[in-house]
């Protein structure tokens, strides 16, 4: 399984904070995102926003970063703290 979590404006747009995906060849962040879109096609335009950031196991990573079963993947808008 892969745990996927959404934050801030993205979570509100999707109206969803967390989903679980079966790990079936989801070997990169990009493939995880595509699997979500395949399951929830109504999220496509929101999840394909160029500005969205992603993290795997609490590290910010890019779309090609490898993912393995048990990982925590997060998607969120650019950060605005401080």
């Amino acid at each position: 399984m892969i745990k996927v979590i959404f934050f801030a404006a993205l979570r509100e747009q999707l109206n969803c904070s967390e989903i679980e995906l079966k790990y079936e060849n989801l070997s990169s962040v990009a493939k995880v995102k595509q699997a979500i879109i395949d399951t929830y096609p109504q999220w496509q335009s929101i999840l394909e926003s160029a500005s969205l950031l992603s993290a795997v196991n609490h590290d910010m990573v890019d779309a090609e970063f490898p993912v393995k079963s048990g990982d925590e993947v997060a998607f969120f808008p650019p950060v605005t703290g401080g």
Binding site: F7, A55, H58, V79, G82
Partner: protein
């Protein structure tokens, strides 16, 4: 308040709902620390204007776990660049109102230029790498803040 004196070279990172006292934080950075002559602090507060709307307050969301990890990495990077003593980062989360403190960074060093550079470096990377998000509460309603390109540019200048 009980003040626990950290050993030298120690760092403290706190993500908290509660307010903090800047004087107490500086006292902690200085306590029993006679090697570092310089201390630089930054503090950020909720101010009353952003994009021309009247701000009543902010709601601060974060990504528990990743926030701490990202701040620890920023502190590690700073310690590799400069000779630093103690470092404290406090970032508040949850509901904050006008004038309230949001963030504190304090750095001690033997030399003032190291303390200045490290404090600004930590703030610049906190702004682009630490997973916090601000929702502004204005008289016209709520809205998530957009990231600013100036912050991305500031962080890139350190490369």
């Amino acid at each position: 308040m009980t003040i626990i004196v950290p050993p030298n070279n120690q760092q403290r990172i706190s993500i908290q709902k509660e307010d903090f006292n800047l004087g107490d934080e500086v006292a902690l950075l200085e306590a029993d620390n006679h090697e570092d002559g310089a201390i630089v602090t930054f503090s950020g507060r909720v101010r009353n204007k952003n994009l021309g709307l009247n701000v009543k307050g902010l709601y601060l969301e974060h990504y528990p776990g990743m926030t701490e990890k990202s701040l620890e990495k920023i502190v590690d990077d700073a310690k590799h660049r400069w000779q630093l003593g103690r470092i404290t980062i406090i970032h508040r989360i949850g509901q904050l109102y006008l004038g309230e403190q949001i963030v504190f960074v304090g750095v001690t060093s033997k030399h003032r230029q190291d303390a200045f550079a490290a404090t600004e470096f930590i703030m610049d990377f906190l702004k682009v790498n630490a997973p916090f998000w601000k929702k502004e509460l204005t008289e016209q309603g709520e809205n998530w803040l957009e990231a600013r390109s100036i912050d991305k540019n500031k962080a890139q200048q350190w490369n």
